[in-house]
Symmetry: C2
Subunit: 358 residues, 2 copies
């Protein structure tokens, strides 16, 4: 007997037991065919009825739906998906290029993810989350897009994978990326104008009296690089110095690094631009511990405007990214791409939120 053992035994490889056809008689209703038998109609009709197709007689339809409900019947999505060639699932990939532990726990990414979950749910899509370590798996992107498990892809952060994303975008339409926009790039990106954000931050610091700036953050990822570049633009124009102080995003090393920078460049700066609010909060604490007044001795500006930003004291002056709007845009654009459209990127303006630290 080739093929698969029939009848409600979940798992095709289990061999037949020799019992006869009565097995499923009292068994639960697992397949549309079971239901069809119970209702005395064909599987096709059940399928249509459950889909609410008005072709099928209203009374029959209602009866079948009732039957389904009362037996706790669940359509097998996998089979349905296979047949319809769509999954109702959007993949969300988080590439962890540099800083392995960082991103997923970083306030910003998490908040974005939360909003994405909202937006997608609202449109009837499920969300499949995948963290990827690009150096362990070169092919992460095409594996995900080509898996047949997702209808489209949202990539959170370009990390150091800009080129790979570019390459994928050439062949795979339904993908939208959160990140930085680069002149002439091919993939559809949603993000904040980081360079402008950097400029706003530096301008604010200087307006608040800073004369020697420092940038705390990792300038490798392009989003951060752009923020740094923006700050440099302004610093250059204003004739003030700007010092790069490499700082990772994981809490543990971050604290250490900040303490180090503060110590070894004690007099080197009087204005700090932190690449993220997470870093800014850590700076604030370190400065206080070191007995340096904020904003008296040192001015401080963060980036993101996370919820904590308003909870520190003094509350953090920062550059706001509108995360909810970003999530909405990512999903909007993806939906349009799922519809075959080739959408443009969206660069959103950052906004200075002036609070107490600069």
């Amino acid at each position: 007997m080739p093929g698969i053992v029939p009848r409600g035994r979940r798992g095709p490889e289990v061999a037949g037991t020799g019992e006869d056809d009565s097995v499923w008689a009292e068994g639960q209703v697992r397949t549309i065919t079971d239901l069809a038998r119970l209702a005395g109609v064909s599987a096709g009709t059940v399928s249509r009825a459950l889909a609410g197709n008005t072709l099928v007689n209203a009374r029959t339809r209602e009866r079948i739906q009732q039957l389904a409900r009362s037996h706790g019947f669940q359509l097998n999505q996998m089979a349905s998906n296979l047949r319809r060639q769509k999954t109702g699932v959007v993949g969300v990939a988080i590439p962890l290029g540099h800083d392995r532990r960082q991103q997923i726990s970083d306030g910003f990414f998490m908040t974005l993810l939360g909003h994405l979950a909202d937006e997608l749910t609202q449109r009837g899509y499920d969300l499949m989350l995948r963290r990827v370590l690009p150096e362990r798996d070169e092919d992460w992107l095409s594996r995900f897009s080509g898996s047949g498990m997702v209808d489209g892809l949202i990539v959170i952060g370009q990390s150091d994978q800009f080129e790979r994303i570019e390459a994928a975008a050439a062949e795979y339409l339904p993908m939208v990326v959160w990140g930085n926009h680069q002149e002439g790039q091919r993939h559809c990106v949603v993000g904040t104008d980081n360079r402008l954000g950097g400029r706003l931050a530096a301008e604010r610091l200087i307006a608040a009296g800073a004369t020697r700036l420092a940038f705390f953050g990792d300038a490798e990822p392009m989003e951060f690089a752009a923020r740094f570049a923006g700050a440099c633009d302004v610093a250059a124009r204003a004739g003030v110095s700007i010092l790069a102080c490499p700082t990772s995003l994981s809490v543990e090393p971050m604290t250490r690094e900040i303490a180090h920078h503060l110590h070894s460049n004690a007099g080197g700066f009087d204005g700090i631009f932190a690449a993220t609010d997470t870093i800014a909060v850590a700076c604030l604490k370190a400065l206080r511990d070191a007995g340096r007044a904020v904003p008296g001795h040192v001015r401080l500006v963060g980036f993101d405007d996370l919820p904590i930003a308003s909870q520190t004291s003094p509350p953090l002056t920062t550059i706001r990214q509108d995360i909810a709007a970003g999530a909405r845009a990512l999903v909007d654009l993806l939906m349009r791409r799922l519809g075959g459209e080739n959408t443009e990127s969206l660069v959103m303006p950052p906004r200075l939120i002036a609070r107490g630290t600069a």
Copy 2:
């Protein structure tokens, strides 16, 4: 012509175009059958070769794998899943019973989610995230478990769905829940001993000199209720009062509510037990704004030990939950349940982290 249009046009309902069989000749290699034709073997052999089955000749195997690689061939997971009756996907459900916006952006849940993603990835599982609004969808649990899209389920937080989860657990083995443990419950839960945590918090507050306690938080969800109960245990024994100050977890109302409680109970308490660190941080800020010294006038203890807890000033005294260990346990137990085992719940001990606020 009934059934489905053949040959690489993704989407069965599109009608034939009249072109003849040459269509796929230069087309990309999409199915195992395409690959089989190229390799001059049968689909079965390709399937075996790609699975690394040693039954197939080593040379043929290598050749086929090479061919697959060079053509960027991706196995269709959906089809594979359907046939094998397993998905390699674990569902993660976040029921949002009371406080809609709350949980997903709450630091604790996000951190837990991050760790879960890590653990699951490591074991070769994908993670399907679903936020559910129980009042909009009574059947959320069985829909998810019965969808055929996941092999098992992790539920983050019981919210107000304890009974529904209990019911589901009776019929669905591969499910593990993060939350509070109730004597004699049926579903497998992983969580902290919240009541003990509440006791530790209250003890600390009293030891630090508090004589009238307040609990800030929503005592509805059972995890929080247990924390509150623990604090009450201690308060009663010590003969000090404890005031419940309902506080939601969403940032916006939270701030308002805290301000209100502080104002209207100005002299009513000198020790605050906050149900989460997020609330504690907001309290800290509100107290400072109100000119009340911490821990001088008011002592404060949080819960969770999120990264921010160490970043406030003074740094937060709090009750630590070991989130990473929790995630590991959730996944471990789920894996064992996927293997058919009926695992016990795990209640982890909380730990007081004494810092500056009490």
